[in-house]
């Protein structure tokens, strides 16, 4: 089934078709809110990962740092 156009944002964020029950139940606004919450969670995770990768290097012994940096970049 092709989801209604108002569900496309959520489908795009999920990378999969949302459960039909939710599509039938939620309003356009609610579907959008859910999609935005997921998008925001992805952004936060990505940012956290950027910082974590930088910080991680600081914990790696000097002798391994070059190799680790090569893997991470």
């Amino acid at each position: 089934m092709t989801p209604p156009s108002d569900a496309s944002g959520l489908q795009s964020e999920l990378g999969a078709e949302p459960p039909h029950g939710l599509l039938e139940l939620l309003t356009v606004e609610e579907l959008r809110t859910l999609a935005e919450s997921l998008a925001e969670a992805k952004r936060r995770q990505s940012q956290a990962l950027d910082e974590a990768l930088k910080d991680a290097l600081g914990h790696v012994p000097f002798i391994l740092r070059g190799t680790v940096e090569l893997i991470l970049t």
């Binding site: 964020e13 990962l49 990768l53 991680a56 600081g58 914990h59 790696v60 680790v68 991470l72």
Partner: protein, 480 residues
């Protein structure tokens, strides 16, 4: 667990995945729990897939650095969320080795964020002692939903160790929200009887009967029976029944009744709450609403006279189809010795007439089952009282059916019952009202009586002025 509570638990889990307070997702409260679970798993996958490439790189790094350093990076650089994301990508033995070097508090943080589907092998390999420590930490934080997600992935030994660190009320709360409740029966089998008793006591003291009853609903009949016995031995049935009434949870209690011992059923049937007409009405309403008559009927025979009257009174007002269904269940459950006296002695004339009407139309199998039970348990007097309210056409149907299932073999017992109870008038009047064709078929049955019995019946019929009405039967009775 009710659908509303299941939905609530799913909202809490989804809020975790999205990193938002659960209160921000109240618009999902109308959603079905299975839809929320599906969207949560999709969201977890999306979050993972979005950074898969970089998470893989982190996992690669873990292969070339010592565990002690990897643990430091996890704790101080990645934090719990990213550590949880990367866990499933690590070599499981490396992940377990790494976890050994991390404090339980941090691992508890990771557990909150971890998707056990993606880290199954790591979770399964975690040592019991460490899982128990994490469980203790999660218990301190009231993280029941988190723990409930992992139960399905842990071995028995690990679960046993973890349960040692979780207090009784928390165990009930975890069981209430856990995923894969089909495993609950097995998990409960790991708990010693003494602990089960303290858990049930916690249900009373901490007002957790709804959780305990939900647990009970997921048990096998055998374990339901054991738990009911423990509850009875701990004098908890009254508190359980009061909660079931107050919270509308009889649908969880009634199915347990068939698994109870007779003594426990008797205890339940004699609780003060059962004498409360509103409470009893609620029980009957629940039995009707959820078709739990088969579960309720074994309790009825233990009820005191007052509640029995009420059950009979309410029973008499049930829809015809429901009453017919109950009569079938009575026959299947061998409960005629409860049902016949209930109808005969506790129902009013209208109720008896309705039962009579049903009995007149049930199939031969049921008639035969009833006649066997009536003969075995000496219930002919009660049955005659029900028959006394039957219309002639109904009596004819019954007589016709009884002829098909060997009435002649039952006749001596019936006559003995008539003699014993002095119900000659009822019995002979019924015979007299049958049409001549049916009387003709009954005549050979009457001839199977011995001469003394025949002459006694004939004398009674004459006394009551009913001999003529017996037609061909009278001829047989009068024969030498």
């Amino acid at each position: 667990m009710s659908v509303a509570l299941e939905t609530r638990a799913e909202i809490v889990k989804l809020a975790r995945v999205l990193g938002v307070p659960a209160d921000e997702l109240t618009y999902l409260e109308r959603a079905a729990p299975e839809d929320l679970r599906a969207v949560r798993e999709q969201a977890t996958d999306a979050l993972f897939e979005g950074d898969r490439h970089r998470l893989h790189k982190l996992a690669l790094v873990s292969r070339i650095i010592p565990s002690v350093i990897a643990a430091r990076i996890a704790r101080w650089a990645l934090g719990p969320l990213l550590s949880a994301r990367v866990t499933g990508l690590l070599d499981p033995s490396k992940a377990v080795d790494l976890a050994k070097r991390l404090p339980s508090a941090f691992l508890a943080d990771v557990a909150v964020e971890l998707d056990p589907r993606r880290a199954r092998e790591v979770v399964e390999r975690m040592p019991a002692k460490q899982v128990a420590e994490i469980a203790g930490e999660l218990t301190l934080r009231d993280e029941y939903v988190t723990m409930g997600r992992f139960v399905g992935y842990l071995d028995d030994d690990v679960i046993r160790a973890a349960m040692e660190r979780i207090d009784d009320p928390s165990l009930l709360r975890i069981a209430f929200v856990m995923e894969g409740k089909d495993r609950l029966d097995h998990v409960l089998g790991l708990i010693h009887e003494q602990r089960l008793a303290t858990i049930l006591n916690a249900a009373e003291h901490e007002h957790l009967w709804p959780e305990a009853l939900d647990l009970l609903a997921h048990m096998s009949a055998e374990r339901q029976g054991s738990l009911a016995e423990i509850a009875a031995a701990q004098n908890l049935l009254e508190s359980l029944a009061e909660t079931a009434y107050a919270d509308g949870l009889w649908d969880l209690v009634l199915p347990v009744i068939p698994a109870m011992s007779t003594a426990t059923r008797l205890t339940l049937a004699r609780l003060p709450i059962v004498e409360n007409p509103q409470a009893l009405a609620a029980i009957l309403h629940t039995a009707g609403e959820h078709d739990l008559w088969a579960a309720l009927l074994p309790l009825v025979e233990h009820l005191p006279p007052g509640p029995r009257d009420q059950v009979a009174g309410l029973g008499a007002t049930l829809d015809q189809a429901v009453l017919e269904h109950i009569v079938d269940l009575v026959n299947d459950g061998g409960l005629w010795s409860m049902f016949v006296p209930l109808a005969a002695d506790h129902m009013d004339a209208v109720g008896r007439e309705r039962v009579a009407q049903i009995i007149a139309h049930v199939d031969v199998r049921v008639i035969n089952g009833m006649a066997d039970a009536v003969e075995r348990d000496g219930l002919w007097p009660e049955l005659l009282r029900i028959a006394a309210d039957m219309r002639t056409d109904q009596l004819q149907r019954i007589a016709d059916r009884l002829l098909k299932v060997g009435l002649e073999q039952r006749l001596p017992a019936l006559i003995a019952a008539v003699e014993q109870t002095g119900l000659w008038d009822t019995g002979l009047r019924m015979l007299g009202e049958l049409d001549p064709a049916l009387q003709q078929r009954l005549a050979p049955v009457a001839s199977t009586l011995n001469p003394a019995e025949r002459s006694r019946v004939a004398a009674k019929a004459m006394d009551l002025g009913l001999l003529d009405a017996l037609g061909p039967i009278a001829t047989v009775l009068a024969a030498p």
